[in-house]
Symmetry: C2
Subunit: 343 residues, 2 copies
């Protein structure tokens, strides 16, 4: 209380203001604010009180500038993809307890991946977590020379040396879906694929080999799809126009499956009575009661955790083995699959 109030006029309060008010040095305030060792209980309390009174808030930018660690994880994601936004939630949940902040940078119509990544780097992120990146692998490799890079859900072949990959075993997921449908008695199982989207090639391949192993080569049918509802709807209309229709469909992802589902319902085709539908991802979409979609679950919290963990391990200089981290998928049976109808 010896110092006068020292209200900072219109500016944001700084350590110096707090120090003046508490009658101690700036360094001591810094210690208290960081919760570091080296301050007595008495002064700790006095400093905190002063800070509270003038509404002090630490300035992360200055903090980062000084300590060469920023403890900032840059995340690039697509605003329109539920799979991405669900992952972001998992990333927050994994990063913050580990003492890392998350900087988000969205890909939007007016804002490409390049721009999104530039913004993260300019912000001094220590590592990049890219959700389903679509830039060329060489670009990723180049980025990885500057900062640890984790690609989530996008497989890279051949794997650039320094880029970590965290993904679901997409092929295995497709296999589980096919096995489930075949066990129900289906034989004509079609696949609506994801084209060149991350993961699509593996799912397509998994579908094909699973069908083959069941001796169903003649029923293999891959329809061009995509990752949006419209893509699924379009493929479903193609199926409706055919004379002999498959009794089950494995869609590239949940959004695509939702489009399929809706088109069938509109056309009066009962699901799962006349045709079964399986999605992929297990985003919040599929869990909604009125969609109730059987789907191949990606373990989103686990993917997020691995991605964050790997990024942090690299930052801590741990010698992490090269190579992908692959998470097992798990089929979640809900209401859109059942035995084939009389046919």
């Amino acid at each position: 209380m010896p110092a006068t109030p020292e209200v900072p006029d219109g500016k944001r309060p700084t350590l110096a203001h707090v120090a003046a008010r508490a009658g101690v040095s700036v360094a001591l305030v810094s210690i208290v604010m960081r919760g570091a060792y080296g301050a007595s209980a008495a002064s700790r309390e006095r400093v905190l009180k002063a800070a509270e009174e003038i509404g002090y808030r630490p300035d992360t930018r200055a903090r980062v500038l000084r300590s060469n660690r920023s403890r900032l994880l840059g995340v690039q994601f697509g605003l329109r993809h539920p799979f991405h936004t669900d992952l972001v939630e998992g990333i927050y949940a994994a990063a913050e307890p580990a003492g890392y902040q998350v900087a988000l940078s969205a890909v939007a119509p007016t804002r490409g991946e390049r721009q999104a990544v530039e913004a993260l780097l300019a912000d001094r992120c220590e590592a990049l977590v890219l959700l389903g990146p679509e830039v060329p692998a060489t670009r990723l490799a180049h980025l990885a020379t500057q900062v640890p890079v984790v690609s989530v859900a996008r497989r890279l072949r051949p794997a650039p040396p320094a880029v970590d990959v965290v993904r679901t075993a997409d092929g295995e997921g497709a296999r589980q879906a096919v096995d489930h449908l075949v066990a129900l008695g289906h034989r004509a199982v079609a696949h609506i694929d994801g084209g060149r989207a991350p993961g699509a090639a593996d799912r397509r391949r998994g579908y094909r080999t699973a069908m083959h192993r069941h001796g169903l080569d003649e029923h293999i049918q891959v329809l061009p799809g995509g990752l949006t509802e419209d893509d699924g709807a379009r493929a479903a209309r193609t199926l409706l126009a055919e004379k002999t229709r498959p009794s089950a469909v494995l869609a590239f992802n949940d959004r695509c499956a939702t489009g399929v589902l809706d088109t069938f319902l509109r056309a009066g085709v009962a699901v799962p009575g006349e045709i079964s539908v399986v999605g992929f991802d297990d985003t919040s979409l599929s869990r909604l009661a009125h969609i109730d979609l059987t789907t191949v679950a990606q373990d989103i919290p686990r993917l997020a955790e691995l991605a964050v963990g790997r990024a942090i391990a690299r930052l801590d200089g741990e010698a992490v083995p090269d190579g992908e981290q692959v998470v097992a998928p798990r089929l979640v049976v809900r209401g859109t699959t059942g035995p084939p109808g009389t046919d």
Copy 2:
């Protein structure tokens, strides 16, 4: 070329490295990097070349620290709300041409609004744009004493003096929807509301007064809903269980309407043959071909533009009038509404 290569060992290159390599002062490099006046064409070129060669990237955090302007707009949004993510796209589109960066801070299960806002302030955002904030109005008023605050889609009554509000004329939107349905010949129009969600009260009131003006008081029916698909599905099941069913439904938003739609389709109730459905927001969801939802469009790009514009105006010290900025809604007629069936 007089200076030696000067490669920065393992660190990130700085202005000083570029300066050394180009054989000029740090200040001059700064000038060139900012594109400011005061450098000759020759040295400009030389500096840019040097920067390019060593892969220099400006450090926004240091930049911000020095110049007291951060030109950073903080945006709080909900990852799960398409309305929010669509708005974020609009905010990027409006802010970046105006020379402002956007810092995103998501609200997630592990991360409340308080935490989201704290992170933005610690990052030195100059203004806050909050999408559908649900914290108490007093908290917003308190924040506004520190930094300009714009509340998007959340009306505040009584309006705290310094908080700007940008919103759609929700009541008017509900009126348009009712007018449209009545013009088609509907009389029994029900409303599935949004409870305490931002905007819900206005929409409810707009629905009521519109019904009244058409002399349809006896058909006023408000069902408890919410903002998710599940909420809509639940309300739809309630309707299905009733003996006399309304011939049209106005849902709180598109997600809610989607749930309604889906439940009706599953129950074999034809839309719009037996019942018409209207949504609200015109998010990308409703525009999808297979949903094709008649909905009250919020002019999302315009809302984003106004919110950004208002924040910037405050920062530029313009004397902006207090009071809300209200954007007109516009009914978009698609495939889920039609004349009532024979009944």
